[in-house]
């Protein structure tokens, strides 16, 4: 199988569009496509046709498999109960007979005989010498069958990542850092008891308490918003930030305003609006006007155009917004970094696993490279830095080869521009002017401007 892909990769190299094509092949390989399909995709790609995304039918197969595993477990549970009953009942009966003899029953012979027959019942009909417990044996067989089904669900073993020496090195060198990251994670999730207990048990030094105090207070205030539906403390905090959290302040004020309307206190709601909304007049006039219209519908909010404003999740969203603002103002991450890294890892593992398996044949450790061999498709909320890949050369921009904007607004790396400016057709004197690769506008190297993302 791997040799087949080697062939595709060779093909890609010949075609001279290495990085992108390599990626097409690698991605196909990772999602477990058949060679034919990858080849199809590759040809489409080389021909400049759009390549269809990988087949998603395999994921439905997986859910079906999971459903059948759940059914297996149900069956197994029934089977297990009955197998043990079948074994336990005769033992109890045999015990009963033996107890009778012990208590001096006159017919000890009959009791012995009966006890023996109960015991033999467990052994099946095979009698004394070749003992077997058919019910339990069958149960063990059924467990193995279930095991085979589980086996089938997981096609790609984790091993290829696992026992490399660099992984051990990682464990030895970084135990302390992982420990500290975990304590920060617990603090960040409001699990202060766990943070303290873990620091003590794992003997990792706990970072300063100032961090923790901030989070403690933040979570207390967030709970006030979400559970008690009180915004006062959060609003005060937002005001103190001098305009940096204006959006939060407005959202909280609006929550309070809507609360008063909902509690059928129009006078107080109106007073509240007069006291606090003018402050936002310059930036949020339209929204305020819309809010004030609510008094027309005060008696039938549920069927009014304003019903959506009273969605149950609004308190949670307010609390989340508050937490995000506090984190931003304090310069700490908005989401626990361990959480983000682990989620990214779950996306990356299947991709890296495949590559690591291939690399291992060449006796290279994936973690010893300067760069991963393939792109990991992370979701947008896990992108924290701009990365510019030149659409012409497919290379990542660097300081030596920075991205340049042409007058038409298209961006290409400098090395590619220089190549374009030199001209491609032999014998023709390069004029230095060239057509933008993405639109009909002509440009020259001197027109291009550096961009910093």
């Amino acid at each position: 199988m791997q040799r087949n892909y080697q062939h595709e990769l060779e093909l890609a190299r010949v075609a001279g569009r290495l990085s992108r094509t390599e990626n097409v092949v690698m991605l196909g390989l990772i999602s477990g496509e058949s060679t034919t399909r990858v080849r199809q995709r590759l040809f489409r790609h080389l021909a400049g046709l759009p390549t269809a995304p990988a087949d998603s039918s395999s994921s439905t197969a997986n859910t079906l498999q999971m459903e059948s595993l759940i059914r297996d477990c149900d069956k197994l549970a029934k089977h297990q109960a009955s197998a043990f009953n079948k074994t336990l009942a005769p033992i109890e009966q045999a015990l009963e007979q033996l107890q009778k003899i012990k208590q001096g029953s006159p017919s000890s012979q009959a009791s012995l005989r009966q006890a023996l027959s109960h015991v033999q019942k467990i052994n099946g009909d095979s009698g004394g010498s070749s003992a077997s417990a058919p019910a339990l044996r069958e149960l063990a067989t059924n467990v193995s069958k279930y095991g085979k089904h589980v086996e089938k669900t997981f096609k790609h073993p984790l091993d290829s990542l696992g026992d490399g020496s660099s992984a051990q090195f990682f464990a030895q060198k970084h135990g302390e850092h992982v420990g500290r990251a975990l304590i920060e994670h617990f603090v960040h999730s409001g699990q202060f008891g766990l943070a303290a207990a873990y620091a003590e048990e794992s003997r990792v030094s706990k970072p300063g308490g100032e961090h923790e105090t901030r989070f403690r207070e933040m979570f207390a205030v967030a709970r006030e918003i979400e559970e008690q539906r009180q915004v006062e403390r959060a609003v005060e905090w937002a005001e103190r930030q001098g305009g940096a959290c204006e959006a939060l302040e407005f959202e909280l004020r609006r929550l309070r305003f809507l609360q008063l309307v909902e509690q059928a206190e129009p006078t107080r709601a109106l007073e509240y609006a007069r006291a606090w909304f003018p402050k936002f007049a310059s930036s949020r006039m339209a929204e305020i006007e819309h809010l004030m219209g609510i008094f027309i519908y005060a008696r039938r909010l549920g069927s009014s155009p304003y019903a959506a404003l009273f969605d149950e999740s609004r308190w949670r969203q307010g609390a989340e917004h508050y937490v995000a603002c506090v984190c931003r103002q304090a310069g700490v991450p908005g989401a626990s970094p361990v959480r983000v890294a682990v989620d990214a890892g779950a996306t990356a593992i299947p991709v890296v696993c495949k590559v690591a398996g291939l690399m291992r044949d060449r006796r290279v450790e994936w973690s010893q490279q300067n760069e991963l061999a393939v792109e990991v498709p992370l979701p947008a909320d896990m992108r924290f830095h701009s990365v510019f890949a030149c659409p012409v050369s497919k290379e990542q921009a660097t300081e030596e080869n920075p991205p340049m904007a042409l007058p038409c607004g298209h961006v290409v790396c400098r090395a590619s521009l220089e190549k374009l400016a030199r001209g491609v057709r032999p014998g023709v004197v390069a004029s230095g002017r060239f057509k933008c690769p993405y639109c009909p506008v002509m440009a020259s190297l001197a027109d291009a401007r550096a961009v910093h993302f």
Partner: protein, 397 residues
């Protein structure tokens, strides 16, 4: 919106389903063997008693009966325990399959329930990490706080910890040898020599105590059966008897070394993890390594602090950043642009805008700023002020 890829999500879940399964397999086989053995013994004793009952004195019959009752009661108790344990393991397997099945319901990664699911997954991974490191108390706390009773393999790790402590601290092979006896066929299947190593250690301890006769008898009883594969080592062990524990002769000094207990404990762990399909490394390490690598960009490792993003795990220079230092950078063949002001993705819907000084921000960030600053925009990185109309739209293909 990003779709949830079920197959990818399952890639790390193999041990999750397999640990209770392997436990179940072991228990089912062991209990079957036990019942077979006991029933054969009981039934032959019963037949014997039946045959001889007229020749037996009443006291003798009574003694036999008492013995049988005792035996059956022990068996019954064991069966009841195993019954309960197996029922629990099946329940646990089912709960875990249901947890994985839930992934089907999430259309996109933004689904709030998917976020909760990921949160639970992280807690599972953390419990695994703590159990492996022997932080049993914290692990238990996390299990209780996050209601992960069915998702934590506490009993397995308690067993591992107990046997390891016995090896490392009390220098005793008893528990480990018992475990080997219970799992002999599985060990044979993976061609593990763990049992031999343990036997060898007991032999060494006898040699250390100058109990030569005992050592020879022990070797005859427990080590000869390994002669097919381990003959040279048995020979060397016998030669050990000629050396005092204080010897400086390298191979024998190594055998007498107390560090051998640590090695034994490590190989025990390797073997038991292998039998239960647990990866040698904690899942947390694998996830952090691959995750950090996938997140790592040249900006994260820049000397310039302004290049860092407070939300980026790799930019946490004191903790995760240190872990990421030796890991590969992420690979990109497609551009991914993130606005420095809002942190939002820049694409056709929110295009990147270039200021005259070359710095780029998202359109939404610039228009928000212009609304507040009277049509002016200020470059976050250089402090220069421009008019919004001076910004030009860029096209990224």
């Amino acid at each position: 919106m990003d779709k949830v890829n079920m197959e990818h999500m399952l890639a790390i879940e193999e041990p999750f389903l397999k640990v209770p399964l392997e436990q179940l397999k072991r228990s089912a086989r062991q209990i079957q063997k036990l019942v077979e053995r006991e029933m054969a013994a009981v039934s032959s004793e019963l037949s014997e008693a039946l045959k001889n009952q007229y020749r037996l004195a009443p006291e003798e019959l009574q003694k036999t009966v008492d013995g049988l009752i005792e035996r059956l009661q022990v068996l019954k108790r064991k069966l009841e325990d195993a019954n309960q344990e197996e029922a629990q393991l099946i329940q646990r397997s089912k709960r875990r399959a249901i947890e994985l099945q839930e992934l089907k319901g999430f259309e996109t990664t933004a689904h709030p329930l998917f976020q909760q699911w990921c949160r639970r997954r992280l807690d599972r991974v953390l419990v695994d990490y703590m159990l492996r490191n022997g932080n049993m108390r914290t692990a238990q706390m996390l299990v209780e706080e996050s209601q992960l009773e069915h998702f934590a393999d506490t009993s397995l790790f308690s067993l591992v910890m107990a046997i390891e402590a016995e090896l490392k601290e009390s220098h005793s092979c008893r528990g480990a040898l018992e475990w080997c006896a219970e799992n002999r066929s599985a060990l044979r299947k993976i061609q593990s020599s763990l049992e031999f190593e343990l036997r060898l250690q007991e032999f060494i301890e006898m040699a250390r105590a100058h109990n030569r006769a005992g050592a020879i008898a022990y070797a005859k009883k427990h080590m000869v059966s390994w002669s097919d594969t381990q003959l040279p080592r048995i020979e060397r062990a016998m030669t050990l008897l000629a050396f005092p524990p204080t010897t400086l002769c390298p191979p024998y000094r190594a055998m007498f070394d107390q560090a051998r207990w640590q090695t034994l404990s490590d190989s025990f762990r390797t073997v038991i993890f292998q039998l239960y399909n647990l990866p040698a490394q904690p899942l947390l390490h694998l996830l952090l390594q691959t995750g950090l690598s996938a997140l790592k960009t040249p900006a994260c490792v820049s000397e310039e602090p302004s290049e860092h993003n407070r939300n980026c795990p790799v930019c946490q220079t004191e903790t995760l950043g240190k872990l990421a230092r030796d890991l590969p950078l992420s690979h990109h063949v497609n551009s991914n642009l993130v606005c420095r002001i809002t942190g939002e993705k820049m694409d056709e819907d929110n295009p990147p805008m270039r200021l005259p000084n070359g710095y780029v921000y998202s359109q939404s960030a610039l228009s928000d700023m212009a609304a507040k600053l009277d049509g002016k925009i200020k470059c976050q990185r250089t402090g220069q002020v421009f008019k919004l109309s001076e910004a030009t739209k860029l096209f990224i293909s």
